[in-house]
Amino acid sequence: MTEAMNVDSLYQEIILDHYKRPHGAGLRDGGDAEVHHVNPTCGDEITLRVHLDGDVVRDVSYDAQGCSISQASASVLNDLVVGHTVAEGFTTLDAFQELMQGKGHVEPDEDVLEDGIAFAGVAQFPARVKCALLSWMAFKDAATQATGAQAAGKDGS
């Protein structure tokens, strides 16, 4: 009980570092799709753009208003998906989502999730899982739209 409620397992040093110095924050011009997601329970919001180069995610730019967990998560997202293909990004997303929904019973793979393993503690705080997933769900939505738009563009040409 005491262990499960330990806030230090939630606020890992890595998370606080990402929160204070987020990677890739800010909206940059261009982009192949833009989405706006909200967490209706708390009002946290993110506007996120996916910038593709073929099937490679060239950039994920975002403007997020939210708690440390949601901000740090967006920063880690940027680290993990930029420079990879959309398919690889979705594989990482699946691993992150599995970790978040594992109630603390999923052992994260550091090779896949890198700094994302610091979110393992979040899984023990059900109210905060949505915070950690906000930017990832926005990425999923935007990347799906962007690849769809690309495919439609190709079909049309």
Binding site: M5, Y11, C42
Partner: protein
């Protein structure tokens, strides 16, 4: 604190307040505007009803049915007395305050009370439950929604009064759940009357903490909920002027709300039954009756005085914290026991999480009042709310936990 009010004695009635949380920390419950805790007297009354008198009401021709009907209707009588209703039939039971407000919006619409060119007036400090039903009514009828603004101090902007000859309905909160502001509702009801508009007062945060006399207030409708006033969840109250209720069409159709039914059509029961289709919240009425007995025994004047004193103490202690900004009136005048605040450099979610790690339960987010937050350019706040069992020691624990939070986040 008044000499007649013994908060330590009151706390003995609330077993949950003795609870220990993770790390063997005592519970500091500062989320009463969200839902209040329940005294043993209320829980016992509900228990006794289920264990000894349970049956459906109004339709059971047996002894238990008669006992259950009497117990259910006694709850109504007690609530009517508590709020100063001129007759018990003016008290309609709903499932919560939201349903009570939706009921009014629905039946006024069905009665043709508003149409294109007409206006409905609310305010920017309303809970979503006193905004959305009126937006929906405006959409259904072609009416226009107008609202009172909020001053930088967190008061209703009465100077820019949106009530005009076109206004048909005015719906405003008595006590803001986010800002804590107590509004001059009698004045607003008078303004509504002067232009012939219906008035509804959302008293969800008022009935629990200040003496309320609906007859003196004179509003057409007053809505509130049981669970914020030491009563159970699952029961809300709509008070309406009897003549007005009697002139309005039904809300939901079903059992209990009819006079007679044929395949060709139905006629409807008089109020309050007309608005209470189906099996009502029976045990909840018993529990709410016990809740108003409990509040009456304490004396609502005493409850209000305690709330005022504890809020004044909390405001005084909170402003000591640099980086903390109270969103809402900073003086304990015309102010209820809810204080929303921001802490520079720390998101409300993180504040609430850190406070929880110290056993201090508060709410973080938009508190179902997004437009009110927008007035102050913030998306969310942390809210500490107090009630008849809150102590100064708990405020001290809150303040200490906030300092800890600042340190933790280096803010």
């Amino acid at each position: 604190m008044t000499s007649t009010y013994d908060v330590a004695r009151v706390r003995e009635d609330f077993p949950i307040l003795q609870r220990r949380l993770a790390g063997d920390l005592p519970l500091v419950y500062l989320d009463s505007a969200n839902t209040s805790q329940k005294p043993r007297q209320v829980v016992d009354a509900i228990d006794a009803h289920y264990l000894a008198h349970n049956a459906n009401v109004a339709r059971a021709m047996h002894q238990l049915g008669a006992e259950a009907s009497e117990a259910f209707e006694l709850g109504r009588t007690k609530v009517a007395g508590f709020i100063g209703a001129s007759r018990r039939e003016e008290v309609v039971f709903t499932k919560n305050a939201s349903e009570a407000i939706n009921l009014v919006a629905r039946v006024l619409g069905d009665a043709g009370a508003v149409g294109p060119g007409d206006e409905i007036v609310i305010s920017q400090m309303e809970h979503h439950s006193n905004i959305v039903p009126w937006q929906l009514l405006a959409e259904r009828t072609g009416a226009t929604l107008r609202w009172f603004g909020v001053t930088p101090e967190g008061r209703l902007d009465l100077e820019n009064d949106p009530i005009t000859e076109r206004t048909k309905i005015v719906a405003v909160t008595w006590v803001s759940n986010m800002l804590g502001t107590i509004n001059p509702v009698a004045d607003i009801v008078a303004r509504a009357k002067a232009v012939g508009a219906y008035s509804l007062i959302d008293a969800s945060q008022a009935v629990p903490q200040i003496p309320v006399d609906v007859t003196a207030l004179g509003a057409d409708f007053v809505a509130f909920t049981g669970h914020k006033m030491v009563g159970p969840t699952g029961i809300g109250v709509l008070h309406g002027r009897y003549d007005l209720l009697a002139s309005l069409p039904p809300f939901l159709g079903g059992g209990e709300m009819i006079e007679t039914v044929t395949m060709e059509g139905s006629t409807f029961a008089p109020p309050p039954a007309r608005f209470e289709a189906g099996t009502p919240p029976i045990a909840q009425s018993v529990g709410l009756g016990a809740a108003v007995d409990y509040l009456s025994a304490l004396g609502m004047e005493n409850v209000a005085a305690h709330e005022q004193a504890i809020t004044a103490y909390a405001l005084e202690r909170l402003v000591e914290i640099d980086g903390l900004t109270v969103v809402g009136p900073k003086e304990p005048v015309d102010r209820g026991g809810a204080i929303s605040f921001t802490l520079e450099g720390v998101h409300p979610h993180d504040v609430a999480q850190l406070l929880d790690s110290k056993g201090v339960a508060v709410r973080a987010g938009h508190h179902c009042a997004k437009p009110a937050h927008a007035c102050f350019g913030v998306q969310s706040t942390t809210r500490a709310s107090f009630y008849l069992y809150t102590t100064e020691a708990e405020i001290d624990a809150l303040v200490e936990a906030i300092w800890h939070t600042k340190k933790y986040f280096g803010a």
